[in-house]
């Protein structure tokens, strides 16, 4: 058991370091964005902090002094990152509200969409992958292969547009955009889920094929276990390992997809907010939303790491 906790601690430490790297990168790029903006930085930051209504030249001067905006850029960067380290994300430059409050409401929507996408992808990929994996090189296998290659080539936003045109506008089965209820979740979830499943169903298939062709599968059979028992006791567990690992690989696609698909469906989540903020040059919001998405990515990766450890005893003590 002690070994188990030690290995979990290693995972936590690695992911913690990753989280710090994410924060530093987001901070640096946001700072560069700020520097690249035309006009007076002190003015904008003051506006960011206190809102446009509450600020004047004096406030801007105070900010200039406080942040040392006359100082060389690297001193300023240090101060910028220092603020980030204190979880001070500032106020939206457009709305004047604290960035943290905005994100708090958006995060729930994004998590809902991410969760829906994973569920949708598993609903497609697992049955498809197991069925083709148990019948490799069958007609079904070849059809699924072709479908996977094709769907993999369709970018999420293009798929989203097509799904909207067909199911929402033409057939009127689902709402077009926005969020009023759970029915809004279905189209964006499947837009992302289909993209994820296009690859992961092949991963499931290959994992099942490998397991079925393994020496240990044959030995489990020849020692007397039935096909069904062998599948349940040995094959599925071994096949699950690469599949869960692959979910980890797909997380990057998932987060990227959330950003784009939220925009397509006007989904009130963080990704939509990020795109909106970039367009409106609301740097405080860009920083806050990008940071949250980056940390969400780290957190989901952590979940996958721990799930792998749950399945694979080799990662624990032997």
């Amino acid at each position: 058991m002690a070994h188990y906790f030690k290995s979990v601690l290693t995972v936590l430490a690695a992911r913690g370091l990753q989280a710090i790297i994410v924060a530093v990168i987001v901070g640096i790029v946001s700072f560069a964005m700020m520097q690249a903006l035309p006009g007076d930085a002190a003015f904008r930051i003051a506006a960011g902090r206190y809102g446009y209504d509450m600020m004047d030249a004096a406030a801007a001067e105070a900010v200039r002094l406080e942040l040392g905006l006359d100082a060389p850029w690297f001193v300023q960067l240090w101060g910028w990152l220092g603020q980030l380290a204190q979880f001070d994300l500032g106020n939206s430059l457009v709305y004047g509200t604290p960035v943290v409050d905005e994100i708090a409401t958006q995060l729930g929507y994004s998590l809902l969409l991410a969760g829906g996408a994973i569920v949708a992808s598993l609903m497609i990929a697992l049955p498809m992958g197991v069925a083709t994996g148990l019948n490799p090189d069958s007609l079904l296998d070849r059809i699924c292969m072709g479908l996977s290659v094709f769907l993999r080539a369709v970018p999420a936003f293009a798929l989203g547009v097509v799904l909207v045109l067909v199911f929402a506008v033409q057939l009127k089965l689902f709402p077009v955009a926005g969020f009023r209820g759970i029915e809004n979740l279905i189209l964006p979830s499947f837009t992302l889920g289909i993209g994820l499943a296009a690859v992961s169903n092949r991963v499931v298939r290959d994992a099942v094929v490998d397991a079925m062709n393994s020496d240990w599968q044959l030995f489990a059979r020849t020692k007397g276990l039935s096909a069904r028992l062998t599948l349940a006791r040995h094959v599925l567990r071994n096949a699950a390992l690469p599949v869960v690992t692959y979910v980890g690989v797909q997380l990057a696609y998932l987060i990227e997809g959330v950003v784009i698909v939220e925009t397509v469906f006007a989904w009130p989540g963080i990704g939509h907010a990020l795109v909106h903020a970039i367009f409106g040059r609301d740097i405080a919001m860009v920083q806050g939303t990008a940071l949250t998405l980056g940390l969400l990515y780290v957190a989901l990766n952590l979940c996958v790491d721990l799930a792998c450890r749950g399945i694979d005893p080799r990662e624990r003590a032997v």
């Binding site: 020496d215 240990w216 030995f219 020849t222 020692k223 007397g224 006791r233």
Partner: protein
């Protein structure tokens, strides 16, 4: 009493091509049948045909009876019901036959519970007992990756025989095990007929056949060449192929003629070698002379390969010196490897590889061809890539490649352990001939004491740190 296995005119086909057969035999309870032949002789096909696990592309013809019931006409599902209950199977590579994610106790106890239909408590007790009899105590909670080869073989044995099937099929049960574990597995198998069971063992080693006794089949490229009592065949084979198989057993090799020794080419003084922070052995001394045939033996994991690396100058010794004679050029030490395909760049043709070396050392290409001819390699083979020639051929090509740089010392790291016995014998004989002809010193690492005794001028047995002698 009826026979356990009766096989009548069994053949295995791939399409219209006959891969194996026809063979006929019967084995009675308490009896043993040994199937002997080289790799690729179709031995495993017999076991697969009896079990019904032939690959889908292959087809068996003939009649198979198991415990007096016709087995070859059963449906796959009916046939699978014999597994574990009527026939137990000991797998070829036990490591790969165990579920990598399940602890060894679980893999055995599930057979007691789900195949022998014991209650969970009885199953646990039976498993515990099996672990004790097989001296596996302490390994219950280990995963296959943490088991040694011998332990994995015994865990597989316990799982396979949990439901007390009267027939045991063992396909190359000693593959990959060193001498000591070798004999333990054979003891285990020999107990099966003594207890009234039936044993069908497949092997390429005459020594295994000798110890198991019973009846015997000898296969060559799928064709039966000899059949009868094991001891009779082994003592007086009627077929020339069987004879050459027996001659290939190192035990039956003639003792090689002593080499004529030249000057000292390598002097090793008080050498210690470490892997990581662990000292493998210390105080190793060696005085290697031109034309000498030296064998290095020792149990696996002792550091034989690491020692070769130190001799070749690939590894910095922990302490001590490896002194090359000034006459030894920079490329004067060459190596032969255990796995011939791994020793060649695998995506380019063999002639490309050999020509590179010849060009670098300004060796005339005709000289390379001459070496190849002496080693029995046709130049046409060189147009192929390493994975397109056999292991034996490739090992000989690698000898030719080494000769291209005119070395004084050849370090051979188990160069024949992946080869068939006949090929092994030929390859080592050629190596000896080359040592004599070119006055090259050869250091042969082997785990086989018999090879060392018969082949080398002298043998150094490595023992674990701290001591090791000349």
């Amino acid at each position: 009493m009826s026979s356990s296995i009766v096989v009548k005119a069994l053949s295995v086909f791939a399409g219209a091509e006959r891969l194996m057969g026809p063979v006929s035999f019967q084995v009675n309870p308490g009896g043993t049948l040994v199937v002997m032949g080289e790799t690729g002789a179709g031995k495993s096909l017999i076991a697969q045909a009896i079990l019904g696990t032939l690959p889908a592309a292959l087809r068996a013809e003939g009649e198979i009876y198991i415990n007096a019931n016709r087995a070859d006409q059963l449906s796959p599902v009916e046939r699978a019901k014999l597994w574990g209950r009527d026939i137990a199977t000991l797998p070829q590579e036990p490591w790969r036959a165990l579920d990598p994610l399940m602890r060894s106790f679980g893999q055995v106890t599930e057979a007691h519970r789900l195949v022998a239909r014991l209650s969970p408590r009885e199953a646990n007790k039976a498993t515990q007992k099996a672990f004790e009899t097989l001296s596996l105590t302490g390994a219950e909670q280990r995963l296959p990756s943490a088991l040694s080869g011998g332990m994995a073989q015994r865990v597989a044995f316990a799982a396979a025989t949990a439901a007390n099937a009267p027939i045991l099929l063992a396909d190359e049960p000693t593959k990959g095990l060193d001498a000591e574990r070798h004999s333990k597995v054979i003891d285990l198998l020999a107990e099966v007929p003594q207890a009234g069971g039936t044993l069908l063992a497949i092997t390429h080693e005459a020594s295994v056949a000798r110890r198991l006794g019973g009846m015997m089949l000898v296969l060559r490229e799928g064709t039966l060449v000899e059949q009868g009592q094991t001891t009779k065949i082994l003592n007086a084979p009627t077929d020339s192929y069987t004879q050459s198989l027996l001659d290939a057993d190192p035990l039956n090799w003639p003792v090689s003629t002593p080499s004529s020794l030249g000057d000292t080419v390598l002097t090793v003084k008080d050498l210690s070698v470490a892997r990581g922070h662990k000292t493998l052995f210390q105080g190793f001394n060696l005085d290697l002379r031109e034309g000498e045939k030296l064998a290095l033996t020792g149990p696996s994991g002792i550091g034989k390969t690491t020692l070769l690396d130190a001799l070749a100058g690939l590894l910095k010794p922990q302490s001590g010196t490896v002194l090359r004679d000034p006459s030894l050029s920079r490329h004067g030490i060459q190596k032969l490897y255990q796995d011939p395909p791994a020793a060649f760049p695998d995506r380019i043709s063999l002639s490309r590889t050999l020509k590179d070396v010849a060009r670098l050392h300004r060796t005339d290409w005709n000289e390379v061809l001459h070496h190849l001819e002496q080693l029995g390699i046709s130049p046409a083979l060189l147009n192929r890539r390493p994975d397109e020639v056999s292991g034996g051929e490739l090992q000989r090509i690698s000898i030719a490649r080494a000769l291209t740089v005119k070395p004084k010392i050849l370090l051979a790291d188990e160069p024949t352990s992946r080869l068939d016995p006949i090929t092994q014998r030929e390859t080592l004989a050629m190596l000896a001939g080359i040592a004599a002809k070119n006055q090259i010193a050869i250091v042969l690492v082997t785990h086989d004491q018999n090879i060392a005794q018969k082949w080398a001028d002298r043998t150094i047995s490595l023992t674990a740190a701290p001591e090791s002698t000349e």
